[in-house]
């Protein structure tokens, strides 16, 4: 019974729990509720992935209305994988909340935090699970609005301008997206993804559909922070509360990348986007430019959070290069990097949160001598950093392996070289932290203790995942490859 309703439960449970958090008032109770809900969603998402891998596509009709009239939730291995990712990150990061939220947010806002967190979680899950194009927009707005609120909760007053800027840019992106949907609806009269995919080919070369394609591409590129539409991201990540940064950095852009893939490969069709419009000639250069520009900017940041934020822009570049390579291996690289980057960047931002709590800030200067004062956190940060560089036995290496292999298979060896060189820039910015933490003396002689266990455990759980899935990528690689084959229309 429950098994049958999993797709909708994934959405309803956190959506219902969100307002409950405000009603509960007591922050301990809100926390417990949020933790229980996130972990329940994680187990449901895991079950869902297991089912799609064995049974194939699961179609759920909301309210019993058959598609294309009713809303359909449609789960295949691609979005089941992303659902699992979002639920996994959400479940781990929420464990980090008790100390971090109490330290960084005024008490009056803590219940609101849990509400916004669960709403954001709902929105991201909804964008992923739904098989209805307009429904994507609805959940996109739910997740975006709650994200603006979450970012605005940052202690630093600049969080407000960062949030406002994201609001402006995010709204432009969402509006473009919905304009694109409107144009498609105009021509086809349907909003169901499968139905759109069936009806669009006849209208493909009308100017309306071309315009829809353009609007959706730009709108989603804004949301997923494709260079040069990334300008909202660094400040939003830098000034948001630590836990918020960790959560949205690991999930928000990833889900947008997923939606991007879904629209390109399932709705418009790979043939239209790549063979007719040669979108790869646009994605690969922008992806590479993102890798280089953002990585180089990261090298010169003095704030660790901003540095990692720019690194995120670069990582989106890697994913887009994977899409642009337009092959099963390339898409495997993108899908696996969705997961891998989420895990390692989440871990890194959590580690930064530990630094912020104990050292009072996350400027490079604050981190001087951290290797001695907070060895456990610093070790975690270094493992995460090594993964960002792409050292073997971490997840970063697995992503890089697929991406370079895909570039060589396509015969684009300069892309392979640039991807590898881009990862060397990561050495530069990570090593600045290593040198500050281990080779420099702290400015003050304050006694600093290690971060509390409730923050270290989630951090190390994600680091553990970074290492585990780097040691053996059988699971992630297998699912990602299956997903890539589905998107490319090979197999089922």
């Amino acid at each position: 019974m429950i098994d049958q309703h999993l797709p909708i439960l994934l959405i309803v449970v956190p959506l219902m729990a969100a307002p409950l958090c405000i009603l509960l008032r007591r922050r301990e109770l809100s926390l417990i509720l949020a933790v229980v809900v996130c972990w329940a969603c994680l187990s449901m998402a895991a079950r869902l992935l297991q089912r799609t891998l064995s049974e194939g596509v699961i179609s759920y009709h909301l309210g019993g209305w058959p598609p294309p009239w009713g809303i359909e939730y449609r789960v295949d291995p691609v979005n089941a994988f992303v659902l699992l990712l979002v639920a996994f990150i959400g479940a781990i990061v929420i464990l980090y909340a008790p100390c971090s939220v109490n330290a960084e947010l005024p008490e009056i806002r803590t219940s609101l935090f849990y509400t916004a967190y669960l709403l954001c979680f709902t929105g991201l899950m909804g964008m992923t699970v739904t098989g209805d194009a307009f429904n994507v927009f609805v959940f996109l707005e739910i997740s975006s609005l709650s994200t603006y609120a979450l970012i605005g909760m940052g202690k630093d007053r600049r969080a407000l301008t960062a949030s406002y800027r994201y609001l402006v840019m995010g709204t432009v992106g969402a509006t473009f997206f919905v304009i694109g949907l409107g144009l498609m609806y105009m021509k086809t009269g349907t909003l169901n993804m499968a139905d759109l995919a069936r009806l669009l080919p006849q209208e493909m070369h009308t100017r309306t559909i071309l315009a829809a394609f353009a609007f959706i591409t730009v709108g989603l590129s804004l949301k997923l922070a494709l260079f040069p539409l990334h300008v909202w991201l660094p400040n939003a990540y830098a000034y948001a509360p630590s836990i918020v940064t960790a959560f949205i950095a690991a999930t928000a852009t990833k889900v947008s990348v997923y939606v991007f893939l879904r629209f390109y490969f399932t709705i418009f069709g790979a043939d239209f986007a790549f063979n007719n419009l040669h979108i790869d000639m646009f994605l690969v250069p922008l992806g590479l430019a993102g890798i280089f520009v953002a990585s180089l900017v990261a090298v010169f940041q003095s704030n660790i959070k901003r540095m990692l934020a720019y690194s995120s822009v670069a990582q989106v570049g890697y994913m887009m290069v994977g899409v642009g390579l337009f092959s099963v291996t390339g898409l495997t690289a993108t899908l696996i990097h969705l997961f891998n980057h989420a895990v390692m960047k989440g871990a890194l931002f959590l580690a930064v949160g530990c630094f912020t709590l104990r050292l009072g800030g996350c400027e490079l200067a604050d981190l001087r001598g951290a290797g001695r004062r907070m060895p456990v956190t610093t070790t975690a940060f270094i493992f995460g950093g090594l993964s960002l560089i792409g050292v073997p036995l971490t997840v970063g290496f697995v992503s890089k392996w697929y991406l370079v292999l895909a570039a060589l298979e396509r015969g684009w060896w300069p892309v392979a070289v640039l991807v590898l060189l881009g990862s060397l820039i990561a050495v530069a910015y990570i090593w600045r932290v290593v040198e500050a933490a281990y080779f420099q003396k702290p400015d003050n002689e304050r006694e600093i203790s290690e971060a509390p266990l409730s923050m270290l455990i989630p951090t190390w759980l994600l680091i553990g995942a970074t290492l585990y899935f780097g040691f053996t990528a059988s699971f992630t690689g297998g699912v990602a490859q299956r997903g890539a084959e589905i998107l490319m229309g090979i197999g089922s």
């Binding site: 792409g390 073997p392 036995l393 990528a473 059988s474 297998g478």
Partner: protein, 484 residues
Amino acid sequence: MSPDTLLLAAVFLPLASGPLIAITGASPNLRETVTVIAGVITFGFVLCISNLVNDGVQPAVTLMELVPGLSLQLKVEPLGMIFSLIASGLWIATSIYSVGYMRGHGESNQTRYYFFFAVAITAALGVAYAGNLLTLFVFYEVLTLSTYPLVTHERTEEAMRGGRVYMGILISTSVAFLLWAVIWTYHLAGTLDFVDGGILAGRADVPTLTFLLALFAFGTGKAALMPFHRWLPAAMVAPTPVSALLHAVAVVKAGVFSVMKIAVYVFGIDTLNSMGLSQWLQYVAGGTILISSLIAMTKDNLKARLAYSTVSQLSYIVLGAALANELGVLGGSLHIVTHAFGKITLFFCAGAIIVGAHKTEISDMRGLGRRMPFTFGAFLLGSLSIIGLPPFAGAWSKWYLLLAALDADQLILVGVLLVSSLLNIAYLLPVAVTGFFAPPEGEEGGLKEAPVACVLPLCFTAASCIILFFYLDPFLALARRIGG
């Protein structure tokens, strides 16, 4: 124990000793006992494996699937056997030496030092026993990372800068060139296994394969081919035992070993030879041999001089691979052995001089040999072995390399090898001569050697240089079987 568990035990025992070292850190005696015992047991395992290999058994273990279709795999073959014997055997000597040096020199954070040393040995053995190219790459990178804390042990500004060059060059070359080459090989050949005769024959045209070889040769930055050799002198900021084991044996030999292994098992000697892929590499290696010898002559700092000498000697091994004939492989792999014993002796002596007399510059060592006769005597023996005079082990490997160069009709390279031996004389012998014959400065002290724990290992390795001249057979037998 079955051969496969033996193999696993040998590789991961040093790593397993790491936590034990960390736990016993509060009691230095216990901690160092753990290190030495771990070294002895590991060496015992390696010896057992070598017996098995001599009997024709090939232990192999598949660990885990790193990327779908590609597993981390350990497999023993003769070349790896040679390298693992050297690395694990000399780890014992170095551990004992470390006790004397680190205490005598009053180094701090010694627990961290022994911990990362153990990790580095696992990485080196992993490189030695790698069953495919991916495994080799993985352990190669682990070796780089685990030695960074050792190189920068002092945590000073200078150590930081040295560490930057060390990491910078090793990581850049391995990511930009080596990883590219590995993935490309996978794309071309569809496999990364080490196979007798190579996997690349007929998979691509000559320019592509030549380029691929260049990526491999320069990508293994640890082989210190010019112009990617700067990390080795920079790494001399490390405590001397680190320089000794890692930068005369484990790390640098992992580099040239990788080049040799790739030449033999990825390209295949016949492919290299018949397609003429490695001709240019002979000249690069020859150039490195001569130029770094000349640079070594200008260095007054003993460790810096030894570092450049190492750069030069490493290229002998690369040259052996690049000559792409049986004698070249033989000479190159024997040089891994003989140079290891010679150079570790020299580094041990340099460290003993630092601990015993606090001298680092050669010009300050006048007459020091009278106060430290064992150290300087050992230095002389080590020098003679590196120079390649009989009855020292170094003579054999140089002999086979000369034969290989003649076999390939490369008279220029024969000349390079001969001139290089002269240059070795010119920069190594003056050290011992200054120590023994130059008039000492200041007061004439009595006998004042470094601690016994320092002197014993260096006497042992110096003696080994002579012993190996007469008993090289086990290594020779292994080296003859390389490549099937």
